[in-house]
Amino acid sequence: MTAAPLQLQSVAEVRAACADFRSVADRLRTEIGRVLVGQDEVVNQVLIALFANGHVLLEGVPGLGKTLLVRTLGRALGLSFSRIQFTPDLMPADILGTQIVVESQSGGGREMQFRPGPIFAQILLADEVNRASPKSQSALLEAMQERSVTIGGETRTLERPFLVLATQNPIEQEGTYPLPEAQLDRFLFKVIVPYVERTDLAKIVERTTGRVQHEEQVTPVLSAAQIEGAQQLARLVLAAPHVQDYAVRIVLASHPTGGGRERWGLAELDRMIVAGSSPRGAQSLLMAAKVRALLAGRCAVSTQDIAALAPASLRHRIARSFEAEAVGMTCDAIIQEIVRLVPAELQP
């Protein structure tokens, strides 16, 4: 099912569409907020990824509500939801599905029938994705990029919208398989799930130990068609050339040999970075910025949107050097330094 192309002819229509988008997002945020306490920025970034049609890698210690967030999101969206608990013995077929021999319904014979795996859902929770072997992890590659899977020589299109929300634990590295760069690059965002604050924790405790199960109260507020419409609207959001250029400069600045490094004083970061963001990073950054502008009620992207989303968009695309790791310079610190040094004003 594909939504009809969005046609906006007048300014009023644009403003109306933007307002609708905002109200829908607000409603969605409210529904999620019924279940998930706190983590507003995480929710916001997940919604941005949803409307930008991108996948999210959630990283945080256990118990912070990552799985709950994804499950609630699935319920609130009214989309099909499935969850895969990644383990070292997980096989690609366990994710994608497999062909099995079944009795022919017409009788008299047997036939091969495809039994879809959990990937055939619109919202996929890949829990502890770094615990599976690279072979199993790579089963997600095609699905995430092409929104289709090829099984037994047959390519099957996944139903849209298709959103992968993977989680990983940053602390337990024993027996894990860090995601390869190629797979990381498929994620629009890598969202760091922080520890909840005191008030939020109190609410969590209160909600989860009471008689009422709040998760059951979540009702779908957004259909798949509406999501696709919102995604189309996000693509129409204006990005002025100099704003787009800012995104490009930010991404280029993440490369050790990127342009303007001496000019902007970025040469100091060269030894901290092994590899910078791919072009997919720039695409993700700009697309996410468009959604952010819409969520803020604007019809054009600003450099502030780009600066705000740069860490989530780029942190998993930058490979740090040994020196950076040794001195404890995180990818976030590198990105913040880049954002601080690269001027937002138009550069000749």
């Binding site: 300014v11 204006l238 002025a240 704003v243 604007r298 450099t303 502030q304 138009l346």
Partner: protein
């Protein structure tokens, strides 16, 4: 395309503010860097040296101006760059500073697009631009204020000025400074030396007679060596060499002024000075000119006289009077020549018989035979003999001319008539008489010309010598020094700088040269004394001298203290001297020396014997005025 006037208005206002703000910042930076540069240069110039300030004391200001100019240039470049900023860039600056989420810049950037989102963005931009609070917010976001630390530049400049004017220079790097100074001084000295030498050379070469005379005297008219040459490494060396060369030239000129030609001229003047001019008559002017030594005037008068003598219309009485005066003049000229005053005086000064002057051959023989004369004195006397001979020859020529004219006068009327008739008949008597007369007159004219030439030569030599003395006094000083001195001594030009050193003054001072024996060294000073030099033999007794020595030594010791380690020696020497002199004069001169006399007393005891020794002839140094003068 949507009308962007409100946005453009905001952009234009922002651009002005940006440019002014940038100018303010650039000005502050320029002042700061100019101040820093001047301060560094001033401190460096004081602490290290001045060699790195290209224009000496003014270098700091030159560099300060250069830095300021560069800063101004950078400021201008920045200014023009800012004024050329596109609208979207200015709008972008506004957006960033006012956190407008790029509404203005996006509106400017997509103004030409017609899609709904672009129009919505432009509307957003216009809405922001037309907001009433926009102007105030813009002023806050893009302030025009004095740059931070604007006071630093002027303060540093003031400090630098204070350092430059009030802080004395330290000693660091003075070697380099002194080196530069000495090099400069050396160049100045070389230039001054070159100028002095060139000036003297030019003066000598402008007088052919002087130049020729120097050449004839066997001394090259050119100065030897070049004091400005590179082998002389210090200014003092150059000055010393210049002084040496100038003194050398001065000495050669002195030789010329005291040489044969000078003596000849002196002898001629002395001989002519004996002439007693007639109080009246046709020969009065000639006689007076000759007495004055005015050869030029005398030559002119002689020519006039010849015309008068040849004049056939002259009456007999005038002719007789002229003949008598000519005869008298010829007689006086002969007497003057025969007097040989100069030679006589020279012979007598040399201890020879003055009458030998009348017989040059005998005088020459006597001079060559005199054993008490040294080689130099012999040469001087020979020179005087030659000068006197030439003088006498000139006097003789003049006398002969006068006699010839006298005879012409005596035979004037008849001879003139005869000669006319003989000439018409082709006779030879009158013609030969005329030729003889004209030949004598020609010789007289030559003699007077020679005297005139000698006069000029001596004047030129004197002038050149004065110039040498002046140069020698300046001692190779630089032209600026000389000009300073000349201005200071402007009122004393005649005494030190002029060439009229021998002019007779009201006090009766007359410059005169005494023959002295030089030791061959450089003359470092000369002084004209207003009195004849004391010459003669000392008649002081040894006892008087011994008393004077005792008191003089005590006074001298008080005025000029003797070093402590020599005081005893000094006291012993001069204290014993009187006793020894008294002892020597009390007893007759004994050939055996006193064994008790100390070796130190020997040189002092020696003069005690000399006065009692008979003078060794007239040529002893005591009787030689030249030596005594020396």
């Amino acid at each position: 395309m949507t009308e962007l006037t409100p946005i453009q208005s905001v952009v234009a206002r922002a651009r002005r503010r940006i440019v002014l703000g940038a100018l303010s910042v650039a000005l502050g930076e320029s002042l700061l860097w100019t101040g820093v540069s001047i301060a560094v240069i001033a401190i460096g110039a004081k602490v290290i040296a001045r060699w790195w300030t290209p224009a000496g004391d003014r270098g700091v200001w030159f560099l300060g101006v250069i830095v300021g100019a560069l800063a101004a240039l950078a400021m201008w470049h920045y200014f023009t760059r800012m004024t050329r900023m596109p609208d979207v860039a200015v709008a972008s600056v506004i957006d960033v500073r006012m956190k407008l989420h790029d509404r203005l810049s996006t509106a400017v950037a997509v103004a030409e697009r017609t899609d709904a989102f672009a129009r919505a963005a432009v509307e957003d931009g216009i809405r922001i631009a037309t907001d009433k609070r926009m102007q105030e917010a813009l002023a806050r976001a893009i302030p025009i204020a004095a740059p931070r630390r604007w006071w630093a530049g002027p303060t540093l400049t003031a400090i630098a000025c204070a350092i430059w004017w009030f802080v004395p220079g330290l000693s660091m790097g003075h070697a380099a400074q002194d080196l530069t100074k000495s090099e400069t001084e050396l160049q100045s000295a070389r230039e001054a030396a070159r100028m002095q030498i060139d000036s003297l050379q030019a003066q000598i070469e402008s007088k052919p007679e002087l130049s020729q005379a120097l050449a004839d005297a066997g001394s090259d008219k050119k100065l030897s060596g070049d004091p400005s040459e590179e082998k002389l490494k210090s200014a003092d060396d150059v000055r010393r060499e210049t002084t040496r060369q100038v003194n050398d030239l001065s000495k050669r000129l002195d030789d010329l002024l005291q040489g044969e030609k000078a003596q000849q001229l002196e002898a001629m003047k002395e001989a002519l000075g004996r002439i007693e001019p007639t109080k009246a008559g046709p020969l009065k002017k000639l006689a007076e000119a000759l007495k004055r030594g005015d050869a030029q005037r005398a030559k002119s008068e002689l020519a006039d006289l010849q015309k008068q003598v040849k004049d056939a219309t002259m009456d007999e009485q005038s002719r007789a009077e002229l003949a008598a005066q000519l005869s008298e003049l010829a007689k006086q000229l002969k007497e003057g020549a025969e007097a040989n005053d100069a030679l006589k005086k020279a012979l007598e000064n040399a201890g020879l018989d003055g009458d030998l002057a009348k017989n040059p051959a005998a005088a020459k023989a006597a001079v060559e035979a005199a054993k008490n004369l040294n080689e130099e004195q012999v040469q001087a006397l020979k020179q005087a003999l030659q000068a006197q001979a030439k003088s006498n020859e000139s006097m003789d020529k003049l006398a002969r001319a006068c006699e010839s004219m006298c005879s012409q006068c005596k035979n004037g009327g008849a001879k003139a008539g005869k000669s006319q008739s003989k000439a018409s008949q082709g006779g030879e008597g009158g013609k030969s008489s005329d030729e003889t007369g004209e030949g004598d007159a020609g010789l007289a004219s030559d003699a007077l010309s020679e005297m005139e030439m000698l006069n000029e030569l001596m004047k030129d030599a004197e002038s050149a010598r004065s110039q040498c003395q002046k140069s020698s006094c300046s001692g190779g000083a630089t032209p600026s020094d000389q000009s300073g001195r000349s201005s200071m001594n402007a009122n004393r030009a005649q005494g030190q700088g002029g060439q009229r050193t021998k002019e007779q003054t009201a006090t009766g001072t007359r410059a005169r040269k005494e023959k002295v024996e030089s030791t061959g060294g450089d003359v470092i000073a000369r002084q004209l004394v207003e009195a004849p030099p004391v010459v003669g033999e000392s008649r002081a007794t040894l006892q008087q001298l011994s008393g004077d020595i005792g008191t003089g030594s005590e006074e001298g010791t008080e005025e000029d203290p003797v070093p402590a380690n020599l005081r005893e020696v000094h006291k012993h020497y001069f204290g014993d001297l009187k006793k020894k002199i008294d002892a020597k004069t009390a007893q007759p001169v004994a050939p055996a020396s006193d064994p008790s006399a100390s070796p130190a007393a020997q040189p002092a005891a020696q003069p005690a014997v000399e006065p009692s020794t008979p003078a060794a002839g007239n040529a002893s140094p005591a009787t030689n005025p030249a030596r005594a003068n020396a």
